[in-house]
């Protein structure tokens, strides 16, 4: 790791002003990506501004049909939160299979979506549930927020404060774990809104990051059941391929994980 200056911000406003003062500042959430990258000397921020202790970024709120998770809430806190389990159990399940216990104690929802790793779990949940990303400046719809590999709509110095999820009628998430990293080799989040709309999002599959899967959405809209997907064919074009999975294998996983997510949906 290169030398860097560490700051612990106590409010979002303080974090913003610290960021502006640094020549090449970076926000630190749970540190599950930034710190390993810094240790490898692949990132060398002048200043690291820790958002983890900011009170206004902590916690979960359920209000009517909206579940709001503050940005610096850890996966563990999400996984064990009674409102999350009640309103959207698929999110509690997603966090329970995210990384390992050490990652879940440190990693945060805000950090995950700000990094937008193409194999991260949470982007699939946001996209499928039609979530809204709240920042210190604005609200951004999930479909506008994720803009390709490690790329988001966030501007320089903009801080995610919370994510709001409309509570769905049904939702489910299933993933095939990457054997080494335990990211999603491919994960699929399926959701049926209370108005009957169906959205399906896959992570870990596409070369351009989290993606909707219209063919599966159409099949499920007609018939919400795993067998409805039997005849759907997913193209391997544009899908990721590496030593742990060919594009054809990932195309298969999109379908199989979608079927299992529907079967598990509640």
């Amino acid at each position: 790791m290169y030398q860097t200056k560490y700051h612990r911000a106590s409010s979002v406003d303080e974090a913003v002003s610290l960021f502006a003062k640094g020549s090449e500042a970076k926000f630190l959430a749970g540190g599950q990506t930034l710190l390993p990258v810094m240790k490898q000397r692949l990132a060398s921020p002048s200043d690291v501004i820790d958002l983890g202790k900011i009170k206004e970024l902590q916690g979960v709120e359920l209000s009517g049909d909206t579940l709001t998770i503050k940005a610096a809430t850890t996966y563990y806190d999400i996984m064990t939160n009674a409102d999350v389990k009640k309103a959207i159990p698929a999110i509690a399940h997603l966090t329970s299979v995210l990384g390992d216990p050490a990652v879940r104690y440190r990693g945060t929802i805000g950090g995950s979506i700000a990094n937008n790793d193409p194999a991260a779990d949470f982007p699939a949940a946001l996209l499928a549930l039609g979530a809204t990303v709240k920042t210190n400046k604005r609200s951004i719809a999930a479909q506008d927020f994720f803009q390709g590999l490690f790329s988001t709509a966030l501007e320089d110095g903009e801080i995610i404060t919370a994510v709001s999820f409309p509570v769905p009628a049904k939702a489910g998430y299933e993933k095939m774990r990457h054997p080494a990293s335990r990211f999603a080799l491919t994960g699929v989040f399926v959701a049926q809104t209370k108005s009957g709309e169906v959205r399906v999002a896959a992570t870990g599959a596409s070369q351009s990051g989290v993606m909707r899967v219209p063919a599966i959405e159409a099949a499920l809209k007609a018939n919400w059941s795993p067998s409805a997907i039997d005849s759907v064919s997913i193209s391997a074009n544009g899908l990721l391929a590496d030593i742990h999975g060919t594009a054809e294998y990932r195309a298969n996983l999109v379908k199989v994980m979608a079927q299992r997510a529907v079967a598990a949906a509640s």
Partner: protein, 780 residues
């Protein structure tokens, strides 16, 4: 057996310090004035080093020196050696390319060091290393073995034309050809044994401390064999004569073979310490471990097995290509030859065997011994062949093995080994009973109705451990003897120190070796301590690898104990005015048999050291030593059976049951043996399902971190069902065979045999990743 004697499940003495974080590893040691080394490593798989500009680095804060490969060559530090000479079939010696500790002219794998920066802190050294400018001229590289042996391939070493290290043969080719000519059935199989990165928990590290006044070096290093390190550093690398070089291997966090070898980094640390006049520490990080720790396995093999009309094996033909990487590591030459092809007979009566092994250089990390070293490759091959044969001949795979088991001992195989004892039917029976082999078809049918593909796989392994005797291995080209030494020191107050030339880096010697003393003397193990890992304390030893420490090392301790006990009995007899022949040792006392006369061990010890009342002519003191050279290898063997399910939708494997029935001869501490088997099985399963060190075509490593290289985790493996059948090893007085490698040797074939049984397709390479299994299921 006493409560702490042989056979007792004694809790490990060493675990108090390991579990509470009080272990003392090389990196925990800090010396006054210590500097830190960071190596400048090649990013290219093959390149000329045209120049190194250190001027900017030398101006950076805290930098003490920047030293290069040319300087180490100019100072006449020797090239790295290979300690086992192999002769090709045409009578020519193996073709060894020069390997300087840092490359002065040419780099041949990614990660090879070209220079080292020495600075006041680790971070300052690393900062300055980034400022060292190396002018490389990239050369064409070849990482794939089959590509490397083709004409026109990039050539690594002028000494080895065609990138061939050797073309070695074993067995009777004529007799084998004759067997195939008469065969009723021939079974053919192509097998790849995937390259593995060893990944000991503790990365390698070294601290070198040169004392200019005494012209003496001390090296703290992560070694499985500190005396061999001192021997090689003295005799071949011109670092210092042996009496001016102390090597200390303190607590070492796992080795699996990778810490047998003497690596460039400790050579450079020693040389640099003298050059700069301060201690030099180097601690590798995980990336350096992936790039520079000797890898394991990496064979490509074609094999054929001939059967007569009664399904009896009549012949075996094997042709193996073994990847050596860019250089010949210390014992690399012996692994695919004498540690591999000599085990190709497996547990079977095979009248004729012929094997050819071609060693190949590639632009990859050097390959050497890794847990099992050659024997996993042999066991995997023969057990995959047996399973393939059973499928082709349409016979039950367990029965085919039984039909061909060796049942008479001793048994001379056609490939050097003379198996001393064993009962292969007993371990097969035990494993089949434990897994309810007979009930499998019903379970498979039930799984099918649940949408799962269930399979069962058998692996009957045999290995050769405690590599020996010295005279025999010497005649086969080994550069060292393979005996072990021990010394028993009884202190004046009766406490006991056992000095051993073996080295514990996770094996539990501090407990098991004490148990032998407890067994013989009836003293608690708290009164005994084990001393190892320091060339100033222990006179000489060969270290720990190849499951040798109990069979060879503990036998040496037994020999020394017998000498000590003999003298102690004389002292006791003299004190008790009894005949020496009437003295027995019980519960820490020397007793006159049949009487209540006794003298406690501390009193005997005190008498030995006060020397006030010793038998006439007896020397004072109570200390004895022994060297033990075995008469043969030992032959642990057993059966592993694995039952698993494959998810046809994802290709993912889930274990249902894994049973192991091992014959290790006598067990000293069954709990520690079980731990060894668990660890070995996990490594074997890791090879079968997860692990693979991969290079792209240009020689860039693709799996140089745990984000890409999949190590087995607890939830990847089942709870194991272990049992033991026992035939005592006749080759050593304790009847021990060794248990350190069996799991890693036998497990992978059981897993692949089970998966291929489940999916109904025989050809499947390791690692059987979900992707690969799914593609195999759905292949046309």
């Amino acid at each position: 057996m006493g409560v702490e004697g042989i056979g007792a499940r004694v809790v490990r003495k060493e675990d108090k310090r390991f579990i509470t974080g009080k272990g003392r590893y090389v990196d925990d040691i800090k010396l006054l004035g210590m500097t830190h080394a960071h190596f400048v490593r090649s990013p290219h798989a093959h390149a000329k080093v045209k120049g190194i500009d250190s001027s900017a680095a030398l101006k950076m804060p805290g930098v003490v020196a920047v030293l290069t490969g040319q300087q180490i060559v100019d100072d006449k530090v020797g090239n790295l050696i290979c300690g086992w000479a192999i002769t090709s079939k045409d009578g020519s010696p193996m073709k060894m390319g020069a390997w300087p500790a840092m490359a002065p002219e040419t780099v041949r794998f990614v990660g090879q060091a070209v220079a080292v920066v020495i600075a006041d802190s680790k971070n300052l050294a690393r900062d300055a290393a980034e400022a060292v400018v190396v002018d490389y001229e990239e050369l064409p590289a070849v990482a794939d073995m089959q590509a490397a042996i083709k004409s026109g391939a990039p050539q690594l070493h002028p000494e080895a034309s065609g990138n061939q290290v050797y073309d070695w043969v074993i067995g009777d080719e004529g007799a084998t050809d004759a067997a195939f000519a008469k065969a009723a059935n021939v079974v053919k199989l192509d097998v790849t044994n995937n390259r593995l990165a060893p990944n000991a928990m503790e990365p390698r590290a070294a601290i070198a401390d040169y004392d200019a006044a005494e012209e003496h070096f001390t090296l703290y290093t992560t070694s499985q064999n500190p005396h061999v390190a001192r021997l090689v550093l003295s005799a071949f690398y011109n670092i210092a004569p042996e009496h001016k070089l102390r090597v200390i291997a303190p607590d070492v966090g796992g080795g699996f073979g990778s810490k047998i070898f003497i690596y460039p980094e400790e050579m450079v640390a020693l040389w640099a310490s003298k050059k700069i006049g301060r201690p030099v520490k180097w601690t590798g990080d995980r990336t350096e471990a992936f790039l520079t720790d000797a890898h394991g396995r990496d064979h490509v093999t074609h094999a054929e097995l001939a059967f007569d009309a009664n399904n009896k094996i009549t012949g075996l033909k094997v042709k193996t290509y073994a990847n050596f990487g860019a250089y010949m590591s210390l014992f690399s030459s012996s692994v695919p030859t004498y540690l591999y092809a000599t085990l190709l007979s497996g547990q079977y009566n095979i009248p004729a065997i012929h094997a050819e092994v071609i060693g190949v250089y590639t632009n990859t990390t050097p390959v050497d011994a890794y847990r099992g070293a050659g024997r996993p490759e042999a066991s995997y091959l023969i057990e995959r062949l047996m399973e393939t044969a059973a499928r082709q001949l349409k016979v039950d795979p367990a029965q085919l093995r039984r039909t061909n088991f060796i049942t008479q001992f001793p048994h001379q195989t056609p490939v050097i080994m003379a198996y001393d004892t064993g009962d292969f039917n007993a371990s097969l029976d035990a494993a089949m009973k434990a897994i309810d082999y007979a009930g499998f078809p019903a379970r498979k049918a039930k799984a099918k109705s649940d949408g799962k593909l269930r399979g069962i796989g058998v692996s009957c392994y045999i290995e050769a451990c405690g590599i020996a005797p010295s005279k025999a291995v010497g005649s086969l080209g080994a550069g060292v003897g393979l005996w072990e030494s021990a010394e028993v020191r009884v202190n004046p107050v009766g406490t006991i120190e056992i000095l051993t030339g073996s080295h514990s880096h996770g094996q539990g010697h501090e407990t098991t070796f004490c148990q032998l003393v407890a067994e013989r003397l009836g003293v608690p193990i708290s009164q005994v301590s084990i001393v190892h890992g320091d060339t100033d304390k222990v006179q000489f030893g060969m270290g720990t690898y190849g499951s040798r420490s109990a069979a060879v090392g503990l036998t040496a301790i037994l020999k020394a104990m017998e000498k000590m006990e003999s003298k102690a009995k004389k002292i006791a007899a003299h004190a008790l005015e009894a005949s020496e022949a009437d003295i027995v040792i019980e519960n820490g006392e020397f007793k006159v048999t049949g009487t209540d006369k006794a003298i406690a061990l501390p009193m005997v010890a005190l008498a030995a050291y006060t020397a006030h009342n010793l038998p006439d002519g007896m020397e004072p003191g109570l200390k004895e030593s022994a060297f033990y050279d075995p008469t043969n290898f030992t032959f642990p063997a057993g059966t592993y059976i694995c039952e698993l399910e494959v998810d046809p939708g994802t290709g993912k494997t889930s274990f249902v049951n894994f049973v192991a029935a091992d014959d290790f001869g006598r067990l000293i501490n069954p709990m520690i043996v079980e731990g060894q088997v668990h660890g070995g099985l996990v490594q074997g399963i890791g090879q079968a399902l997860l692990e693979h060190a991969i290079y792209d075509a240009s020689g860039q490593p693709v799996t140089a971190s745990f984000m890409d290289y999949a190590m087995p985790r607890a939830d990847d493996v089942p709870s194991f069902n272990l049992s033991h059948t026992t035939t005592l090893c006749p080759g050593n007085p304790l009847g021990i065979k060794g248990c350190g490698e069996a799991g890693a040797i036998g497990a992978s074939a059981a897993v692949i045999n089970a998966i291929t049984d489940a999916i109904g397709k025989n050809n499947l390479e390791m690692p059987a990743t979900p992707d690969r299994v799914w593609r195999t299921i759905h292949a046309a």
